[in-house]
């Protein structure tokens, strides 16, 4: 079905790809859905948290999953979309010691954390501890409106930034599904582009 839709070459590239997702909150849970629907063959997903009521305004979980490990809940949801997608789930807190190892088979890692200091930790770790892995990170997606201020920007050969770069939770802005999903869509879209074209 996806071969018919995308063509054989594109299908094969997407199906052969392994993509990492660091954090399964508003960004990560939605990036994962978009990538699985696009036909990515394998995801490595990592998070240490459980699903909480405050997540349901923007994260791809359901009330019956409250209290469930996010890796388990995301795996269930992705398998409902495509039973054949391969998911490697890692229920742990990512840190400078384990992140490069956990994502070692991923050509691209989506940075989907909530806290700015954690975002920094992941970028520094993946970009210095791996040789080729590309990071697609997000910064500046809080609030609502201003859809077109969310951009995808290539910083260097291995770092792509998504977001408006400014509007964070530090400003007291809340996180809403609409704008978070725009950013998640940018992340998933540039990941597909990188896989199909080989570069940007």
């Amino acid at each position: 079905m996806l071969i018919e839709r995308h063509g054989k070459t594109v299908y094969e590239k997407l199906n052969a790809a392994t993509v990492g997702i660091a954090g399964l909150g508003g960004l990560g849970s939605n990036v994962a859905v978009a990538l699985v629907r696009a036909g990515i063959g394998k995801l490595v997903i990592a998070d240490f948290d459980v699903v909480e009521p405050s997540n349901l305004n923007r994260q791809n979980y359901f009330p019956e999953q409250l209290g469930e490990d996010k890796v388990k809940a995301t795996t269930e949801n992705l398998k409902k979309i495509n039973p054949y997608v391969e998911i490697e789930g890692v229920s742990t807190k990512l840190n400078p010691e384990n992140a490069a190892r956990i994502f070692k088979n991923c050509s691209i890692v989506a940075e989907c954390f909530d806290k700015a200091t954690e975002k920094k930790m992941l970028l520094e770790t993946i970009l210095t501890e791996t040789k080729k892995t590309i990071v697609v990170a997000a910064s500046g997606l809080a609030g609502f409106g201003k859809s077109n201020e969310i951009k995808t920007k290539k910083i260097s050969a291995r770092l792509i930034m998504v977001g408006d770069g400014e509007n964070g939770i530090e400003k007291g802005l809340s996180l809403m599904a609409c704008r978070v999903i725009i950013a998640a869509g940018h992340q998933a879209n540039v990941i597909v582009e990188l896989i199909v074209k080989g570069n940007l």
């Binding site: 970028l123 809080a142 996180l175």
Partner: protein, 69 residues
């Protein structure tokens, strides 16, 4: 004349450059805890900000991160 190219724009310094990356961030009032720094394509880790010396003509990318996800 001393100059650094920061985020694509030349920044000139009258006499001397800030000695280290940490000094530059201090001068620019950038929070070191939430910025990723790249000098001539090389990512500098947080622990090395204080020991990374700067020299004229370097290309520096400072990527400020804000929370939310």
């Amino acid at each position: 004349m001393t100059v650094l190219r920061i985020n694509g724009e030349d920044r000139h310094f009258e006499k001397t450059l800030p000695a280290t990356l940490a000094d530059l961030l201090g001068l620019m009032k950038v929070d070191a805890a939430t910025v990723v720094a790249e000098i001539d394509g090389q990512i500098i880790k947080k622990d090395d900000f204080g020991s990374t010396k700067l020299s004229t003509g370097q290309k520096i990318e400072l990527i400020r991160l804000v929370g939310g996800g």
